[in-house]
Structures are given as C-alpha cells and as structure tokens.
Symmetry: C3
Subunit: 358 residues, 3 copies
C-alpha cells in the first residue's frame, strides 16, 4: 500500500488525552441547506424561512442542527472510525452557537477513554468532538464511542479508562442561542398550535408519515457530509460483506426520523442536546422508515418565559407503521423493526409566546 | 392517533370563503436553483445566467417559474389535499412579481367552491392559492380543484358552489414583470433564433429529447418542495396500494415536460399564465417522459413591441416518442401514452428585439 | 421534424475556422458547489472552506476545477457532439482565472481540424473550446476531438486538417492563479502531510476507496452540467441501443476518480492542465469505480518556492480494486477493467510552505 493514503487509526494508535485536528474544514452554504431539504423534506419554519427566523430574533434562517452534526461527524470519520466495527453510542451532546450559511466549520477531537475488549482484537474508543466556526466559537460538542479494530492482536492491553458520562445533559447546561427570543410566534406558519405546555411526560406520538430510502439518496447525503466510511459507497466490496450490500449511514436515519417528527412536533425547531443514541439495527436501500416519539421530560428554562425544553425519545422503525410504538421485546432485546433509539432535547415555544389568533 | 399530528382536512371541513394560512414559509435560495437544474436540466438563459438576465433588464437570474409553483403548491398540500384522491385541474394561474434567490415565500388559500359527489363519500374542493414574497407582493396565484374524501359519508351535503373559471387567462390579465425589457436579445446565447412571430397557431413541435424518472429523483424534487403527500414517499404502504408503488408528483412531470420543451421553445423563458392542466395518468419510476407542444394562440401584448405572448399546449407521454403527437383516441379518451395535458402562456421576444447577427 | 428543434451539427456542417458561440450561459453558485460535493464527496480543503481558501491567499473558496470543466463541456454538446459517436480525446487544456460562486460562464468553440474517416460515414472534428467569465477573462480552454456522423455519406470529403497538439502542456504554459500564495499551509486541515517533494516520478498510488454509480446520480450530475447528450437520460430508447441501457457521461467518471484520488493526493488542490485523456470503456449504473494514480513528472514552477507542479496519470477501473494498478494487457489493449486513462497536471505545496508542526 502507498504510504500516501490514510490507513485510519487502529485501537492501539489512540491514547487518552490524544488531540486530533480533523481534516477538511467546510463552509456550509445555502446550497447545503437546499440539499438537506431535498434529502429529508424538513419543514421547521425557523430553518426554512429567513423571514420567519427574523420573527424569533435571528438574523436569518440558521443551518439545521443535524446538518451541522453530520458535517462535524463526517470530519471525525477518517481519524476516529475508519477502522470501526460499530458506532456504539452518543452522550453529552450540546448545540451551542447557531450556524448560518457562509460559516466555516472545523472539528477537533480528544480521546477521553479506551477499553480493550476481552477478545484482544478490538476495543472501545471514547472521543469528545468539538465543532467550531471561523470565529473559534464552539457550535457543537458531543461524545461518541466506537468499537475499533486492533492492528495487531498481540499488542498488550492497557488499563481501561472509561469516562463518566451523564445520563442526559442537565437543564443548566442547555444553551439558548443568543438573540433567540419568541414573543410573537405564528403557529399557523409554524404548522402547529401545540405549545411546550401541551406535551405531557410519557406522551407518545406516532409521526404517521414514512420515507423509503434509495441508494442514491443515502449516498448523496453521506457524500454531502464528506463522510468517507467505505461501507456506505462500495457495492462491489459490499456484496461480499456481512450484509451483502451497502449500509446506510446511521446519521441519515436520525435525520429521516427527525424530519418525520415534524408531524407532531412542528414547534420543536431547535435541538439543544443529544443525550444518547443507539443505532439498533442497520438499514438498507429499499427500507421504509417510520418514527415515533415519547416525551421523557418537560423542563422549564431558568429565566425564560418564552421557551421550554422537552427531552424526547425518537424511535425509528423500518417497514412497520409506528402506531403501536414498537420499542423492545424485553429488557435485553429491541423489537426487530426498530432501527434507532435516540434521546435528545429540544426547545419549544411556551403558550405565552404565541401570537394571538385572529 | 395523537392529537398532535395533522390529519388534514376532509371534505366537510371546508366551507366557501374559508381562508387558510399555510405552514412552512420558505426562503428560496441559489441552492434551490441548482437543485432544480440538477433535477430537470433546464436551460432557459434568463434563469441560468445572471449576466444574461441583466441583458434583459433584470437585476439577476430569477427563480424558475415552475420551481416557484411547486413551492407554493407544496405548502397547500397539508391543508388542502392530504386526503385528496385526485388533483383534478388548474385554472386562472398568473405569475406576477418575479422571485429571486433570498426571497421568502408564504402561501394562503381561499376555498371558492365545493361540490359533493353523488357517492356521498367524496367531493370536489376548489381553492384559489396565492403565494407572496416578504414584501407581501403576490408572486403567483392559481385555482386548483381536487377530489377530497369525506370523513363521514353520513355528513349531509350542502348546495354545490362551483366557481366560474376562465377557459384561459385573458391577455389583458397577463403581467410582464417590472423592468423586463428586451432590446438586444442574444439568440446565440439563448439557444434559438426563432422569435414570437415564427410560431404559427396550430404548429406542433416534437421536443425530441426524453428523460427517464428514478425514485430518487422524484422524491428529491417533491421533498425540495416540502410537499408531504404520502403516496410519493412510502413504498412500504405503496406496495399494497392501487398501483403497487410510489406515484410521481404530477408537478414533477410538468417540470420535466417544460424543460424538455426548451428544444423548440428556447426563447419561451417566462411563464405568465397557467390556463388549465390535467394529469391524465400517473407515472412511476422507470418511466421515460417525452413531450410535444402545440401553439394555441399568438397574441400581442398591449404597448410592447419587444415581447409577445404564446399560449401553448404542452403534452407529455410516457415510454413513447412524441413524433406522432399523441393526444386523444377520441373525444372522451386520451391516448394511453399521454400523462399530461397542460395549457399555459409564455412570453417570447419579438424579432425586433433580437441582437443583429454578426 | 419541426424546424424549431436543434438537430445538432453533422460532420459536413463543420469547417476549419468555424466559430461557435454556445448557448446557455451559466452563473455558477454555492448551490452548484454543494451538489458537486454531494455527487462526489470531494474534500480538497481549498474548495471546501472559504476560511482555508483565505489561508492560501484567495478571497473565498473557488469552484472545483472539474465542475467548471463539466459546465463548459456541457455547453459545447448541443453544437459539437449531439451527433457524435465517441469522444476521442483531450489535449492542451489549461485552467486559467479561478471561478467563484456568482461568476457567469459562457463558452465558445473554434473548429481547428477535420478528418473524414475512410468509411465515408463519419469523421473526426477537432475543436478548441474556451470558457469565459462575466469579465471576459478566460477561465478554461481545451481541445477535444470527437467522431461525428455525416448527414449524407455521399457528401465529398475535403482534404484532412489535423492540428498539431502538444503531448502535454509545457510548464511554461501553466498558470498559477493570481493571488494564490502558500506560506503557512495547514497540513492537518488539508488531510495530508505529503508535499510536492515527496512524490517521485514513477510512483503509483492506489486510492483504495471506491464509489458505486446510480442512475439517479449520473443523470443528476449531467443535468447539472446542462449536458444534453441523449444517451445519458433515455432508458426507453437506450434499451434498444448498443448497450441496452443509459451510458454514464464520461466526465462523471473523471470527477469520481479525481475525488477518490484525494486519498493519496490531498494536497493536489488545483488542476492547471489537462494533457490528455481517454474514455477507455463506458460505465453504467451499478458499476463501482476505483482509481489509481501514477506520477508522470514533477516540475518546478519558475519563480515559485511555495508550489510545484505534478503531472499525473489518473486511471479508473470498474468493479476491480486498483491495488494491482490495472492499465494495459499489451501495447494495443487496455485491461478490460479500465474505463479511464487521464493525464493532467496539478499544483501542490512544497515543503517550505508547510506550517510548522506543534
């Protein structure tokens, strides 16, 4: 193999405290926004319309939170997960400064934990990744852990370091974007008259709609994010792999489910935290994705009467309607239709912020 | 079903005079323009090049008229046609103020007619939809009528109200966009040396080229327009439906045919009216669309020596060349290859406006 | 056939010295950049990030060189190659003024050679095509030659005119874009620590990664370039053609291979010349493209200590890994897996221009 190509890091290449400056900074543009809309059909009014964004105090329509997530995630792939077997989990994700078209994003990661598996062939790598804009403001940070191959099974194991991670991001850690202020929220334009107060803890919402995935669509998305994981793109090699085909990038499923969730959560326009997430099963071209949500917590935000926080579980299932809210068969096993179990926190306007009806 | 999701309106939910402010305002960007080009390959020079647009008096390249139409149409779907069985017709469509990248579009509709069908299960809803920009200028208005399900067959029928609709938009109602003035039109750059005077009423043009539709393409387009009609996206449910598969959004076919029509109508760069239109048959991924046009009328525009109007019939057929101009088998039945019969009016430069040849 | 549609030029329609102003000028936007990324996943930092572009002296991220090439090429198709049987070769290609989002591109061609084939039915047409921006600056020029059908086999042959073409663009003819200056090049952000000096003549690099082509993807690309060659789009006619299916635009393969070559050539961010190129075999949807490169020459640039030139052969193969560097079976025949043999020259930072490591 040429010494010029990137072999990726193997488990024994990582060390706790390792700092990685990721390649390929990226200016996010209005073109990326259009593609994101074309890929998922998202309809959150704040991200869709600069006029509407202006009505909630923002200078123009910001970039969708998950588009930003995927761009940052994509940068980490060549360094963190090129030799990964599985993306195991997320925690402590926070969305901070809003990103607008024209902002240039770069990403760095720090290794915060390492734990070799008993088979001696793989281990779990924990990284905290941070995305920044051209002013060095943090726009996103999150922890993920992945199972990575060892280059050499004979390489001796070190003592495991497993970071302490919060079960969810605390309300006190949530950041409301600067200048975001809702005092005259137009529910007709937003597409829902349900306010933060209307969501009850334990409430479950079947998002009704569904989307079938095509090879072209998921590859287009994953290329847009400059994510280079080979399993998404190479049918020639994939046909001899475990699944006999290309695997859809897990983040594509998160975005599909999030955009389906508009139907029931139209006012949940800003993600402020990713508390956790599990890609329960892979999906493939031809699969149809459905989604449902459960309200896990409804929390006031200190000092804000216009906005509250909702912690949500977002579940995606394939080739099965979510009207029965598929989740688990038992404590150990997911329903075989479930492909994603995602835990995140959104901002939502409170009723006091709604524009009075006509 | 959760009370939070949108069930759409059923026939008995509409009343004549009902005003609907549609959700999801949308800022149209250069990214949308690029996607529109990538979806259809359109080549009208005014929309393709800001330099060329400048040569006809415009500040920059405007948004394609049908892209605007689809965006406005998409907004009406969740309120008007989520429970529709068929999109029956269009009339009285006018394109008014030009839209440019950065403009924020919103849409409202008024119910102008209702007529229950004799089966007691469905009825026709007539709406006039109006798209506006951020300055409240009307950019597009049109009437469409759709067959919508009743929620409850037992709901009593009211007296039918059927609006009077013009057979076509009168020349006196056509609007030439402000500042559009053609006095030095470069036919080489535009791709055709045929002027308004060269088109004869009754003339038919086979547009020669064709385009095969893929699942990814029509879904990408329909998501870009934030059109949420379920039949376009869900193969899992579609496989058990009437056609056993996803149905292509009818507007996608209009745009395909319009862009094919460049080859023969390259100077027809601005649509000013939609007089009528019928989606004769559905199309599906794998179908190849051909198109032909007939000149229905050639009309002078009062006070304009640079531009004239052409009223055109645009016919699309699937999996059949249009060299024989397929249309009808007899007065009642279309040729089975025909999928679209669309009646619209364009502006075209007159010969006096052409740049003298070298 | 209507006299309004474009029949394209046949061999006997061309004459040496003929000047063709091509239709459909095109403003290239940030939306086109996003689509290009979504189609190929390219990661060259200069084109990806305006912040990074600023660090090498540019006002913002320029348009990818091959996106420009395809846009210019697309314009020439309706006039030059609508009746072509094969695209035979390229030479003397130079990239000159950089193109940025918002620039409006137009193209002209001059016929510089004509040679009828002995069968009397076809001939080779040589054209020099020149792309310009809205300030009339040349952004790209190249020669290509295509085999074109005669309309009438009885049309008498003229004496052949075959232009002299350089085997490669001389170093003295290469143009470094104005203001491009590298003095603090961040190799971590760029994704490679290999400098111009590190590449040895004769060195071969397997780019490891691969990309499977979908119908939707190649048609989307080709429409984006407003390339109207029928063979790419019409499955209904294509099923009865020589290959029984749509053929992928050859330029799509060049871009796929170029973007795959990032893995091994991450610092080769600017193409300055196309020396030659041959589309060895067609590719179709479902094929997986791999690529490898060979360093043909490493040349200093007069007066520049920050940048050098590398002349590269870029080979693409389908459905076969490039670890064995497939090329030819013998002097006359290519390896049947090879689809592209492309010869081009890039700029690359020299080691002296690298930012000192931490």
């Amino acid at each position: 193999m040429s010494n010029k190509t990137n072999p990726g890091n193997y488990f024994e290449d990582f060390f706790v405290g390792m700092q990685i400056a990721h390649a390929t900074p990226r200016t996010i543009s209005a073109g990326d926004v259009s593609l994101y809309t074309a890929l998922y059909g998202n309809r959150f009014a704040v991200q869709s319309s600069s006029a509407f964004a202006g009505s909630v105090g923002l200078p123009e329509a910001p970039i969708d939170d998950l588009l930003l997530f995927h761009v940052v995630f994509g940068k980490t792939v060549p360094d963190v997960s090129l030799n990964a077997i599985a993306n195991l989990g997320y925690a402590a994700g926070r969305f901070l400064t809003l990103v607008y078209p024209g902002d240039s994003i770069s990403a760095v990661s720090e290794v915060i934990g390492l734990k070799e598996n008993s088979d001696g062939k793989t281990g779990t790598v924990y990284v905290r990744s941070v995305g920044s804009n051209q002013r060095k403001e943090t726009v996103l940070e999150y922890v993920r852990w992945v199972m990575v191959r060892k280059r050499d099974a004979g390489h001796p194991a070190l003592a495991p370091v497993v970071p302490e991670l919060p079960e969810s991001v605390a309300v006190s850690e949530l950041v409301v974007p600067a200048s975001l202020a809702v005092s005259d929220y137009d529910t007709a334009l937003a597409g829902s008259s349900f306010a933060w107060e209307d969501y009850e803890v334990g409430e479950r919402i079947d998002h009704v709609d569904a989307m079938t995935v095509e090879e072209s669509d998921h590859m287009t998305a994953t290329r847009l994010y400059q994510n280079t994981a080979k399993v998404h793109f190479n049918q020639h090699a994939g046909k001899d792999g475990r699944f006999g085909r290309r695997i859809v990038y897990g983040g594509h499923v998160i975005s599909l489910a999030r955009c389906l969730s508009f139907n029931g959560l139209a006012n949940a326009f800003r993600i402020v935290a990713i508390n956790g997430g599990r890609h329960v099963a892979p999906i493939f071209a031809g699969d149809t994705v459905y989604a449902w949500s459960e309200v896990l917590a409804r929390e006031e935000l200190p000092g804000r009467s216009d906005l509250g926080a909702l912690r949500l579980r977002l579940v995606a299932a394939k080739d099965q309607s979510c009207e029965a809210f598929p989740l688990r068969l038992d404590e150990r096993n997911y329903d075989p239709a479930v492909v994603l179990d995602f835990d995140y926190t959104v901002l939502m306007p409170r009723r006091a912020a709604f524009r009075p009806g006509p």
